[in-house]
């Protein structure tokens, strides 16, 4: 499957991928509303880890046998059999955070949206052609591509 791959050599630690992710997962899809009305600051589903001068955007690897799905106690976390995308049906999530403990990459953070628990994890912008982080990365430090046949 097509996944987002980070190219650490070009990540410049701007964290705009986080900003674009937040906007893409907001109700309004508008930068200012997302931050100022929906209060979504800090809810990115991609995490830019910093070990300066190195930085790299870490996000879900959409595992073949996802631990987050295996551990989900409510059945909210699923892997789409067609696309391979691992995502959370957010209104089913109860916020136990077993998925958080399960993800080998540290790609899920416990979060909250409108008073409901939300596992903050990348869903590859399921409905869009290209994930928002990739589309918005000013330095092409993220690419969206197929690397391993069938994976």
């Amino acid at each position: 499957m097509k996944k987002v791959y980070a190219r650490p050599a070009y990540c410049m630690n701007c964290h705009l991928c986080e900003v674009n992710c937040i906007v893409a997962h907001s109700r309004s899809r508008d930068l200012f509303r997302a931050y100022k009305r929906e209060n979504l600051r800090g809810t990115a589903r991609v995490i830019v880890e910093e070990r300066l001068p190195l930085s790299v955007a870490v996000q879900c690897r959409h595992c073949d046998d996802p631990r987050c799905v295996a551990g989900c106690i409510s059945g909210a976390m699923v892997k789409d059999p067609e696309t391979g995308i691992v995502y959370c049906q957010e209104d089913k999530c109860v916020g136990c955070w077993t998925c958080v403990a399960g993800c080998p990459y540290g790609a899920i953070r416990p979060g909250e949206k409108n008073g409901r628990p939300v596992p903050l994890k990348c869903d590859l912008c399921r409905e869009a052609d290209e994930p928002a982080c990739v589309a918005g990365c000013p330095n092409r430090a993220l690419v969206f591509e197929e690397r391993r046949a069938g994976a």
Binding site: C14, L16, E18, F32, P53
Partner: protein, 502 residues
């Protein structure tokens, strides 16, 4: 340590809090620590005094929340005591040092390109549509002495001509003064477009030898990174005598910029200052220069044309004549607007002559002496557009070098702080945190686009003049007219005034 600066900050960083989403991108990207974040209070603020107006934060801010304002003059406006002078004096009063700067001369001297206009065909000698008809921009660099005798035909010391697909090359910017990323961008773009880039005086990094076929490899007074492999790998060898931004003085790359890979490429110890002497210590005459030219040619079995680069100074025509006679195949002349990674401000701003006048003078002199075809003439120093290129060629150049324009294409905002090594745009820095901002993939694309755009425009202009090959424009000063120029200037440039007929 001075405790109190007498100068207020030159710029003011204004943030629109209504827009700012506190993403901190500006803080992470400002190369000069002007943007600050106080985590305890969740507050952003700016240290205006640090801001150099590089515009990195403005460009990166996703909210468009930032504007950098020029502060009002620090003292009562005075046409004689300009702000620049005042700031310089205060700075020196505080530091006691030589003023340093980067990029090219920014003073309001005349730019002759802006006083020259091009011709176009009307009715007779119809214009050509470059989209429908072939239009040749390919230019051959090197010595084109026509062999007359059998002897001459068999001469094994004739170096080959080097074709470039557009009369525009990237000028010398050494690895060390610019980042590996910037260097690689230039190399890739040159190769993709079929032109040349110039290694500058810092050698060619090992991992970029795949681009050597599109490299002008420089040999400067410091001889950094010069070895047989380097000379033989390049397409053209260039002896650097002078540079337009700092004629008559050498170079100084501070030890902080001599990182391990730079040191390896330059073949000097890591962390030591890289000093290029003002003169080549083995060149004190045209005869000495001839020796070096032929040493280099011998070392490369006469397979590489040799270029000699000088800055445009008062006596440029005579010097160029000497260089041609010394056996150079190319003469590169760098005008007083030429850029630099670091130069004393006074030198940059007050030494040298405009490139337009230098081209005209050199071309004229070489023609008069009947040796114009022995060399190609490459002009450099502040070319801003395809029109500047066309005018330079009409004045007599074969091709041009661009450096500042290339850097601007890569993101440079002319803040002139190259010498600090803190470039926010990842260009003039060896700091890996900053340099990684310039993805060479993107850099090369942008440079390629620039060459493409300019080349296309050049074809349009040539077509308009009814010319279908750049060769036919060279030295064709009839296609130029001056506006607002005095008699001396017109004479030196060899052009008529606008309104005068053929």
């Amino acid at each position: 340590m001075p405790t109190l600066s007498l100068m207020p900050p030159e710029f003011r960083v204004a943030r629109d809090d209504n827009k700012c989403i506190k993403c901190l991108a500006c803080v992470r990207q400002c190369g000069f620590d002007a943007q600050q974040y106080d985590a305890e209070d969740d507050r952003l603020y700016a240290i205006d005094a640090n801001c150099v107006n590089c515009q990195r934060c403005v460009s990166i801010c996703p909210a468009g929340a930032l504007t950098i304002y020029k502060n009002p003059p620090p003292m009562r406006p005075n046409a004689h005591w300009t702000e620049g002078h005042l700031r310089n004096i205060v700075k020196q009063a505080e530091t006691g040092g030589v003023l340093l700067t980067g990029m090219g001369n920014d003073q309001p001297f005349p730019t002759y390109f802006d006083r020259l206009l091009l011709n176009a065909s009307q009715v007779t000698n119809p214009s050509i549509d470059p989209l429908r008809e072939p239009m040749e921009l390919r230019t051959y660099l090197g010595s084109r002495v026509e062999p007359v005798t059998l002897e001459e035909c068999r001469d094994k010391t004739r170096t080959p001509l080097v074709p470039i697909e557009t009369p525009i090359m990237f000028s010398a910017m050494s690895y060390g003064s610019i980042s590996h990323e910037a260097f690689a961008s230039l190399a890739r773009a040159a190769k993709a477009f079929g032109t040349l880039f110039n290694t500058g005086e810092g050698g060619l990094p090992e991992d970029l030898y795949e681009y050597a076929d599109h490299a002008v490899v420089q040999v400067a007074s410091g001889r950094f990174g010069v070895h047989a492999g380097y000379l033989n790998a390049g397409r053209v060898i260039e002896i650097k005598i002078g540079q337009g931004a700092k004629p008559g003085i050498g170079g100084h790359l501070p030890g902080e910029k001599i990182t391990a890979p730079v040191a390896e490429t330059r073949m000097i110890p890591e962390g030591t200052d890289a000093l290029s002497p003002a003169p080549h210590h083995d060149i004190y005459s045209i005869e000495d220069l001839k020796q070096l030219i032929f040493t280099l040619k011998e070392a490369t079995r006469y397979q590489k044309p040799v270029s000699v680069k000088i800055s445009a100074v008062h006596n440029v025509a005579a010097i160029a004549s000497g260089i041609a006679r010394a056996g150079a195949d190319i003469i590169a002349i760098d005008g007083f607007r030429g850029g630099t990674g670091a130069a004393p401000t006074m030198i940059r701003d007050h030494v040298g002559i405009p490139i337009e006048l230098a081209i005209a003078a050199v071309d004229q002199r070489l023609r008069e002496e009947g040796i114009r075809n022995r060399v190609s003439l490459v002009a450099a120093g502040g070319f801003r557009s395809s029109a500047d290129v066309v005018k330079a060629i009409a004045l007599g150049a074969d091709a041009v070098y661009i450096a500042t324009a290339a850097l601007i294409a890569l993101g440079c905002h002319l803040c002139q702080k190259c010498y600090t090594g803190k470039c926010s745009w990842g260009i003039a820095t060896q700091d890996p945190y900053r340099s990684r901002r310039l993805n060479p993939e993107i850099g090369a694309e942008r440079l390629y686009n620039l060459l493409r755009g300019w080349s296309h425009e050049i074809k349009e202009m040539l077509g308009g003049m009814g010319i279908n090959s750049i060769e036919s424009l060279r030295g064709n000063r009839l296609h130029l007219r001056g506006v607002g120029l005095n008699e001396v200037e017109l004479k030196l440039l060899g052009v008529k005034h606008a309104g005068e007929a053929m």
